[in-house]
């Protein structure tokens, strides 16, 4: 976060794109990037910052290698979840988005072609014991197979509206997510309000203001779709 001083230009490199911020008067900021320029009305002490946020549509995270779940077993791992980086101009509680960097532009459809949901497509990267270093977030995920039949997971659909984002000294983390496989076509998903203890000194950045863990029961049937975490 850098302060925008009066009568001084502030240059910011935003993913290879250079932005220059100039404060023309107490109420106006001139923003120049390449040949384009714009003016923003803003007053007070101004700062230029980069903020992480979830993608606006659900994530379809596809596993290259399918995860095999034996009956009455569980898998616990960290799953990489991409984030958007926003360039913002802010003053106190007010903020104005100047630009955003979206790394993952590919999309996928989850569900039947006549009714389903559009998702951001991500190829899975995960770690089983210790969180790996990434600019994106890590989802502490636990999948419990309570059924008596083995299960196979080839993709997971994560709904960002149920996720918190924490910034720790060792990276970004979301709240813990539990998936319980009830049968071959039925499972429940629970979103905790806390993150993993592997996150060092976590500070909440995106707080959903929900005090209780949410449980969502999703059933796959002939005509249904999985809006939550789909197996």
């Amino acid at each position: 976060m850098e302060k925008l001083e009066k009568d001084a230009a502030l240059k910011i490199d935003f993913f290879g794109k250079e932005y220059t911020f100039e404060r023309l008067n107490p109420f106006t900021v001139k923003i120049t990037s390449g040949v384009s320029q714009s003016f923003a009305s803003f007053s007070g002490d101004l700062y230029v910052d980069m903020r992480k946020d979830f993608y606006e549509m659900p994530y379809l995270i596809k596993f290259k290698d399918a995860l095999q779940l034996s009956p009455k077993s569980q898998l616990k791992f960290f799953l990489k979840l991409p984030l958007i980086t926003k360039l913002i101009l802010k003053s106190g509680e007010k903020s104005l988005e100047i630009d955003r960097h979206i790394e993952y532009n590919r999309k996928a459809w989850h569900g039947e072609v006549h009714r389903g949901t559009l998702c951001t497509y991500v190829e899975a990267e995960f770690a089983f014991d210790n969180p790996f270093k990434t600019q994106d977030a890590l989802v502490p995920l636990r999948i419990v197979n309570r059924s008596d039949v083995p299960g196979e997971i080839s993709k997971i659909v994560v709904e960002p509206e149920n996720l918190f984002l924490f910034k720790g000294d060792n990276g970004y983390f979301t709240n813990k997510v539990y998936i319980r496989v009830v049968s071959s076509n039925e499972f429940s998903v629970e979103y905790s309000t806390k993150t993993t203890n592997k996150a060092v000194n976590p500070q909440p950045i995106i707080d959903r203001k929900i005090s209780v863990a949410r449980t969502v029961l999703t059933r796959f049937d002939k005509f249904g779709i999985a809006r939550e975490l789909g197996l």
């Binding site: 590919r106 459809w109 389903g116 497509y121």
Partner: protein
């Protein structure tokens, strides 16, 4: 001081009739509004509006009958006259009645809604309005079309915006001398590098047939409806560029003409 009782006794019939009329209309309005809202919440604003109007006019008709009853007017005669009038109007307005009935069917069947892109008898556009008599659309080249509902009800309707994703099918052919696997690999990489194409459901390239002058393929890729034209343009451009770079020929139909006999035919300039 006004003697209300005396006035009432004197004009009792008139007062009663006016009260029936006023209260009847107010009650009709309230009941039709409530039922309209109820139907709107369940079945949408269009059916809600129609239901509200039907209920309102039925109740107003009942109020008028009650109003006439106060003056001891023979309702049977009025109804008989209304029946005859109805038959006359029915014959005179056959087309309109047919349109109205078709309008009801369209509203109930919901093949499309206001704002959706549709194609009726080969004319494509966005639905502006569905009234009881006609359906109006604005074509993509900005023309205003009005279809009588009876025509719409009997026409082949294609709803272009009912589903969010569409499958884009692009036929492409390569010369018989070319390597099929190489062409398949190139097509696969062109498709997968196009950001408009959804990665799930997975895009497919299928070999369709031995064509007249080419081995024919078909690309089947799912896209967001809004990206249809962009994706098609980019894909065709990408395939042509990639095939040109790889030296793969996209043939056009060839025709060999035989003039008969074994010898060559001499062509002379006249």
């Amino acid at each position: 001081m006004i003697d209300f009782y005396n006035i009432y006794a004197q004009y009792t019939t008139t007062v009663k009739a006016i009260l029936i009329l006023v209260i009847g209309i107010i009650v009709s309005k309230i009941i039709s509004n409530i039922s309209g809202k109820l139907v709107t919440s369940k079945l949408g604003s269009h059916i809600g509006g129609v239901t509200k109007n039907i209920i309102f006019y039925l109740l107003v008709f009942s109020t008028i009958i009650a109003f006439l009853g106060v003056f001891e007017i023979e309702i049977t005669g009025v109804l008989a006259a209304a029946g005859i009038l109805g038959i006359v109007i029915g014959f005179a307005a056959q087309t309109s009645v047919s349109n109205i009935i078709s309008g009801f069917f369209l509203i109930a069947d919901k093949p499309f809604e206001i704002g959706e892109a549709i194609e009726i008898d080969g004319q494509a556009g966005v639905v502006l309005d569905i009234s009881l008599l006609s359906t109006r659309i604005r074509t993509f080249d900005n023309r205003y079309l009005r279809f009588p509902n009876s025509t719409v009800a009997n026409a082949r309707i294609v709803n272009l915006s009912r589903y969010e994703i569409r499958r884009l099918d692009i036929p492409v052919g390569i010369a018989y001398k070319e390597n099929i696997q190489k062409a398949l690999d190139i097509l696969d990489s062109v498709i997968k590098s196009n950001e408009n194409i959804l990665l799930e459901p997975e895009p497919q390239v299928i070999i369709t047939k031995f064509g007249e002058s080419s081995i024919d393929f078909e690309i089947r890729a799912w896209i967001q409806r809004s990206a249809l034209f962009t994706a098609r343009t980019e894909l065709i451009k990408g395939i042509k560029t990639a095939f040109d770079e790889a030296g793969i020929e996209i043939p056009f139909p060839h025709r060999t003409v035989y003039f008969g006999g074994d010898g060559a035919v001499e062509i002379k300039r006249i």
